[in-house]
């Protein structure tokens, strides 16, 4: 890639170096060539970033690309296009595909397909157990060698504590963490939303916060017992967050991620829709696992993101077909198509003064990189250091826009945010030195 690209005049936020200043960023041969004041770049294509922010490309360590096997919901091409629109230059693909990513062959398919059709970098996450059934370990060594950056049975918890223990021990040989979807199946059984007053109002079976807290505590205990690294997927409860914070204080190798929707939306969105009002709507687009919870849980997650108890934001992008959501609430699929709204939704926290923009950017870049130790796979990823891959985003934290799922690049239009006004948009995304997304520039 010999194209030269100059991103000029933007305010650069680079969490690794702590930079927060006006800089030009020069990209050459797919790498960051330089970042400095008033760079000269003859012959380079110029992206005018004056009045805008420039940051490393976002890294999503939790997305469901549905490919292979469920391409009607999403595939690697559409999913990575959606990622690019959302400002993500790296996406980690969860293994709950069909067949699941539990053998080298499927991993190689994912990587090959990504090489052919992906707009951004794709890291596969391998299954922990064969078939994700939670009974026997998958060939973690082979999966690691094939290119998996972590292991998870996500979608499902690793319910058997002994299996989780063995997995932690075994995976540590390969320097990969186990990502656990913490949900005690017997407590959460039949629950289609958060157990509480809203579920009671709607007459829906709920899963209690304790279902998450119980397994988070278990995983922390196992991390301690094994000395291995456990990463808590999509944490959503105050109890879970507090357990993670305490574990970190004790120096245990526990990391955690949170989704944009768990930082902003509550169970009220299920009952009344994101637009609010008093009429019950039973919005299946707000049906997600873990469910949208109470205001107190949301506040706990926001505080934890701000103070670092939660390491990073991850979208848990979960696209579904229209008919899988246009049905009775109990029967609707769980999941929110979130890549394209992640930044705009998280910006609410910045505008409310609860999380500084720099911290949000860190939580979308260096945070996830460190949580899964991705720098071991791609040095410099998540930074704008010279020599790092040319993964850059240009952001406009003030740009107002309204969420219109019919314009998503993702095949999944399942979002509770349809029609909602957000403030904060990704103006351009550069992945590996190529411009993979660019908003239309308003004619002056």
């Amino acid at each position: 890639m010999s194209e030269r690209l100059l991103i000029r005049g933007g305010r650069v936020l680079d969490p690794l170096s702590g930079t927060d200043a006006e800089r030009d960023v020069l990209v050459e041969d797919g790498r960051i060539a330089a970042a400095g004041a008033r760079l000269d770049a003859t012959g380079a294509r110029v992206i005018d970033a004056r009045g805008l922010f420039v940051a490393p490309g976002f890294v999503d360590i939790h997305a469901h690309l549905r490919d292979p096997g469920l391409e009607y919901k999403e595939d690697i091409a559409s999913g990575t296009r959606a990622a690019a629109r959302g400002g993500f230059t790296t996406v980690c693909a969860m293994p709950n595909t069909e067949p699941p990513c539990d053998t080298r062959a499927t991993v190689e398919y994912v990587l090959r397909r990504a090489g052919e059709a992906a707009s951004v970098r794709v890291f596969p996450i391998g299954a922990v157990t064969r078939g994700r059934e939670g009974k026997e370990l998958a060939e973690l060594g082979d999966l690691a060698e094939a290119g998996c950056v972590a292991f998870s049975d996500d979608g499902a918890p690793i319910a058997d504590a002994m299996i989780m223990r063995r997995a932690l021990e075994y995976a540590s040989a390969f320097g990969r963490p186990i990502i656990d979807h913490c949900e005690d199946p017997s407590l959460a059984k039949d629950g289609v939303m958060h157990e509480g007053a809203v579920a009671t109002r709607l007459g829906l079976r709920g899963a209690p916060a304790a279902a998450e807290a119980a397994m988070v505590e278990r995983d922390i205990a196992l991390a301690e017992a094994t000395g291995a690294h456990v990463h808590i997927a999509h944490i959503s409860t105050r109890a879970g967050v507090e357990a993670v914070r305490a574990a970190k204080r004790r120096g245990l190798r526990v990391t955690a991620e949170v989704t944009p929707h768990h930082l902003t939306l509550t169970a009220d969105a299920v009952a009344f829709g994101c637009a609010g009002g008093d009429a019950l709507v039973y919005d299946a687009n707000a049906k997600v696992n873990p469910p949208l919870r109470e205001r107190d849980d949301v506040d706990a997650c926001v505080e934890a993101l701000a103070d670092g108890a939660i390491d990073c934001v991850a979208t848990d992008h979960a696209p579904h077909a229209v008919i899988e959501k246009l049905c009775e609430f109990d029967d609707a699929a769980f999941g929110i198509s979130g890549l394209e709204t992640a930044f705009g939704l998280c910006m609410r926290l910045v505008h409310e003064g609860r999380v500084p923009l720099a911290r949000l950017v860190e939580a979308l870049t260096l945070g996830p990189v460190r949580a899964l130790a991705l720098e071991a796979h791609v040095p410099g990823i998540g930074t704008l250091a010279p020599g790092a891959p040319a993964d850059v985003v240009v952001l406009d934290p003030e740009r107002a826009w309204t969420v219109d799922p019919s314009r998503f690049a993702s095949k999944g239009t399942n979002t509770p945010l349809a029609g909602v006004a957000l403030r904060g948009a990704v103006v351009a995304t550069i992945a590996g030195g190529r411009v993979v997304h660019e908003e239309e520039v308003a004619v002056a």
Partner: protein, 336 residues
Amino acid sequence: MTTVRMAPETTLTPDSPGESAWSRRHLLDVDDLTADEVELLMTTADAMKEVLAREVPRVPALRGTTIITLFYENSTRTRSSFELAGKVLGADVINVAASGSSVTKGESLVDTVKTLQAVGADVIVMRHGRSGAPYLAARHAACSVVNAGDGMHAHPTQALLDLYTVRARLGDVRGRRVVIVGDVLHSRVARSNLWLLTSLGAEVTVCAPPTLVPRGLGDTHEGLLPPVRVESSLDRAVEGADVVMALRMQLERMHGGFVPGMREYARLYQVNAERLARANPGALVLHPGPMNEGVEISHEVAHGLQSQVEEQVANGVAVRMAVLWLVTRTRAKGVA
């Protein structure tokens, strides 16, 4: 083509509020009915009751209207009650038994509703095993949707007929003490009754083992949940009660770990003569049916003087006639 002008006739009742009295196309729950709307339902049911008492209990009010009952769950009593209500009003009633509820089992709910509408349904009376299903139907229906019971969520016509029955005997429910005893967690009848009775100023106590009380009920969740007292002892709850409503206890609850078994449940929560004696004299006993005599209610009380069970069923037809009448008032048909 001449248009017939309908000048305002002076036979409009002077105390009738006219168009503004009822503007709902659907009846999905009782949780947001205004006091005026409830009153209108009650007085309309009075009129319907009088029709049922006639030598020839038939009126042409809904002639040309097509009512389709779409029941995803079996129910002889509710379905036949709606069917009769429609027929007394002169409507054409078609019963559709739908099995299953998800896309994988057949036509989706939205497609089914659209098909029925295309067939010519003016009103779809729907019973479904999933909470919220009628809301989905109403969003996609141009015709009226009447909820005949959805999952664990609501059963508006049952609550209305229960209210009608209580009012017939006790008058205004404001300040009256009502005890609802049984599996409140899984009971849509209980939930709708809680909303309706508390909105009209009744003091409602829910009595059940803690495992069968929905989360949040009894705490303050203003606007989200009705304000009720929660009591786990029936002996205490029934003191001074004017109305005791017993809910059906299902055998399956034992398997879910909700109660140890029917024997213990009956011992602690059965509405029997001894407990009824602690309520106010002349207290009414209600049950939505079908009854498990010997479990949640004793045979003696079920068929005793204070039992309103038969009245409930009779009133059910009149109340459902009132509901069908009112939801079809908003239907604007083209004038030829």
